[in-house]
Symmetry: D2
Subunit: 310 residues, 4 copies
């Protein structure tokens, strides 16, 4: 996805540039960390404003307050970028909208490039590659050669898988002697059992993904690992709620020099528990506790992995 | 918790009575099903407006739009009752606010009863009982004898455990030849591993409960089982989001005769998937599929149950 | 099961008494710990000599060497008692052989008592009781009043469930002011999901119980907990292999004052690994390691609990 | 491992050739399926005759009856080949004995080839390859070029991983225009979480592998899949007990035309349960039941996968 067509690709708007003294490229060039936003479709579905299966964004017109409220929450959680909620993820449209061939993405980057604005292109690609046989490394090289300044992945895969793809993209660029800013917006779900097609092929999609939702601590690890890989545009896609975005902003607060507004309502690493009257709950008010906790599913009759339908 | 002191007990307000032609007791007496609302504290914590550990409701003043938005969502999802968001769940306050002895609840019911309004009393009690040795059955009898018209449980335990307690309360009333309307507002989390103290004693509380969140289908089963038990006030507590409340309203639509507004964005039993271009995703557009699915956690390195800290 | 009829009840034979200077009662009265043997049927089934479903002991005649070899292994592992392998667990016979009513067991104890030998009676009973409404405590009292010197449980339930029943039996005796020696021979399988009917009602019985088999370290904990409960005859039933019996004998070696012969081939608590060339395997040569290890099933597509068929 | 040095490589002995009218190559050339034997070290460790960590075969001298008994059981279960139990798996020896470079295996094959007997060479190699960078395909080609008539894998990996390696070996041979008989002897453990080093690097090795043991039905699938891959020498390594070998022989009975002796004590696909008095147990006496059962671990506090130590 590219440009103004979709939330997955960011063609930075005039207004947005004016609001900030600096454009996104200048920020990234200056070494800043940019925090992306989270997922609109799945979150608004749970709030009652988007229909699963259809995934169309008419809520913008029908319930603008509800959409505005979610924008406010992401902003408050630390997002630097507010994507316009205009992406139609209609499953029929998916086929024609989404790029099926890497070449299509390349053409789109070339067209957008003519506008004179920086072009960011993120692909729905996994570590094993896709799009009629293109590897992540090859894909990265093609996009940068076409003129993209920022490249990366979004949607379809979970945090660790997305980072694995990013590592391959980065290595592909390095091997080709190319440079670009890196960007990642993974899904919020733990999905080591995903196939090439990503989360839609898992039997739990889209109505039973709850047990796979990452905790805030998982997302802090994801943000740190992304940062260590050299990625400087770090956000989320489907399933990322405001508190997940806040977790990115909190993890990278030392690098960025500030906490997001929503952190006034969040003690770092559970420190809000340190006044609890029960000593065993107070004992949870520390980083090591949450970093090492292996959270139970509470579902002993369920498996821990599923087989994708294809 | 009782009366105006907290969201856990409903002392129906003047305004609310005037809005409806009928009061809550008249409705329940007439055999109506009343759908409660969901959890404010945990949901607003994830949205960035409530601080975990402190759990205080200053968001009402600081961010009224955010609170109003969540009220709107629950209303749209089918809630008949909007609780005022004034409960201070401050962990220090908990000790003094919460009833430690069943007798305290009894006194509160007696005081509220004098106001001439119907009194609903829900207790945080599990199947094994609590409160210095009172069983669910004994507790139910005490509350009804004190004058409560509606009794039940809320918070602390998951859906199946809460229903188990309700069954014992009902049996206690029957054995004593008493009658009352029944009410249940369980947590959204799967917690068969809970001890007497409920969810706060599980190691995942409050920041790693994600894998335990019930799906909408789990909540439909909960609503049906509650209905079959004779419970007619059915809602949720911590962790219940608008789509969980919608699941209650959809499951009981045949009995109530109507769907909630938010169902315009929800195909019943996944029917919204029946136009999908991929046949294996279309195949998920049916009730049997979601009723029988055992959702994976995506976390093979985690256990399925935890040991409570006490 | 009682007396010479079955391996579950021990009527000590003439020969056995002569072999030892002391009879079993004298030993137990003197405070000795008696280590029982393990399971013959399931072990010989895996070796190819017993037919599952039929569970008949014709191997004694058809393949005496195979049976003798298993006896040798249990003896070498530390068993003090060698049960005759004459129990016909034929599923048809089960109905008529097994005691359906506690009274039957009482009559059998009374008859055997007349022989003048010590009578040991173990019942297939769980913590919730069975046998037309008898609790473990009541059952214990009946057997001791009938003349049994040693009482306890065997088969049907796993280690922790069996010990829970034993605790109830012990409390029943204490409440009645009675005394008896206690005996436990649990199954080797982890079965917290068992119903009243025990392991035969689990869907995995009898051909897919492998993932439930206890490790040697689990059995050491079982032996210690049994000892702490005051049980002095400690053995195993179906699924207990020679190394499980050795684990009992090793755990209780400090109390008994000696190790079994098979310990010449077993370093206590994994110490046999301390010469390994790989440092991370050497690091496993210690008690804390094995005591705290949570062993993975290697089966991420399987649940951790099952629902019993009844 | 090669030749007479170890059980992992079979240099067929004079006596063995005389016993059979046909040598192993003649049999395989004629299209016969050869059933291998199972694991001696781990099985005899559980019986009390081998010391874990040391893994030396002095039991042959110290307890010949115990070793002979296990040989008898494998024979009865259907093994066509009885390996001499002379392999010293002493962990110190491992380093010098095991081939570190594929070239060493090649030299050994060349030396054994001079004896004029057929040489079978099995390697401890996983799908990702090993031995200083040799892939399974390259390894297969080297061994066949050196003169091996039978090649394959044994030990270190579980059934599905071993078959994956075999597929790569087969493809390597096909690409090089070479032919050889294929042989597989996997471990009995489910280990999708294995790293390159195989099972010794899993935290459960060697004393907590119980939950990973394959059922007889798992092994039937393994045997069928091996057969379908074109493998005609199918056996097992560590952890394979007689009933696992019987499962291979039963699965391939239609192809071989006969059942092993131990099948007189085994109803195929659970048919031995069809006379059970409880209808829900009788209902398990069929193939679909056992093929589709997902066996629970009975350990809800344990994970389903582990992280290898390296």
């Amino acid at each position: 996805k590219l440009g103004t067509l979709s939330p997955q690709t960011k063609h930075i708007s005039k207004e947005e540039e004016e609001k900030c003294t600096l454009g996104i490229l200048e920020r990234l060039d200056a070494g800043e960390v940019v925090v992306g936003d989270g997922g609109f479709l799945l979150t608004l579905e749970k709030r009652g404003y988007v229909k699963a299966g259809l995934w169309t964004p008419e809520a913008v017109v029908e319930h603008p307050n509800a959409v505005r409220q979610l924008h406010m929450e992401f902003l408050r959680a630390g997002s630097n970028v507010m994507q316009t909620f205009t992406f139609s993820a209609n499953e029929d449209n998916m086929e024609s909208q989404y790029f099926e061939y890497a070449e299509e993405a390349v053409w789109a980057v070339e067209v957008l490039k003519e506008s004179g604005k920086p072009v960011a292109a993120t692909m729905c690609i996994g570590p094993e590659g896709d799009m009629h046989g293109v590897t992540p490394g090859e894909c990265a090289v093609k996009l940068v050669k076409a003129g993209a300044s920022i490249i990366g992945v979004n949607c379809r895969f979970g945090p660790w898988t997305s980072l694995k793809t990013m590592r391959l993209m980065k290595e592909g660029l390095q091997a080709a002697g190319l440079k670009a800013h890196l960007m990642v917006q993974s899904l919020v779900f733990h999905m080591p059992d995903c196939g090439k097609g990503g989360f839609v092929d898992l039997p739990e999609y889209p109505f039973a993904l709850e047990p796979r939702v990452a905790t805030r601590w998982d997302i802090q690890k994801y943000a740190r690992e992304a940062y260590n890989l050299g990625i400087r545009y770090i956000g989320g896609c489907c399933g990322f709620e405001p508190y997940h975005i806040r977790a990115i902003a909190e993890e990278l607060a030392p690098e960025r020099g500030f906490l997001p507004p929503a952190s006034e309502k969040h003690g770092s690493w559970g420190s809000g528990l340190n006044m609890h009257t029960k000593p065993w709950i107070r004992a949870r008010a520390r980083r090591e506790y949450w970093e090492n906790l292996l959270p139970a599913s509470g579902r002993p009759f369920c498996p821990s992995l599923s087989k994708p339908d294809v």
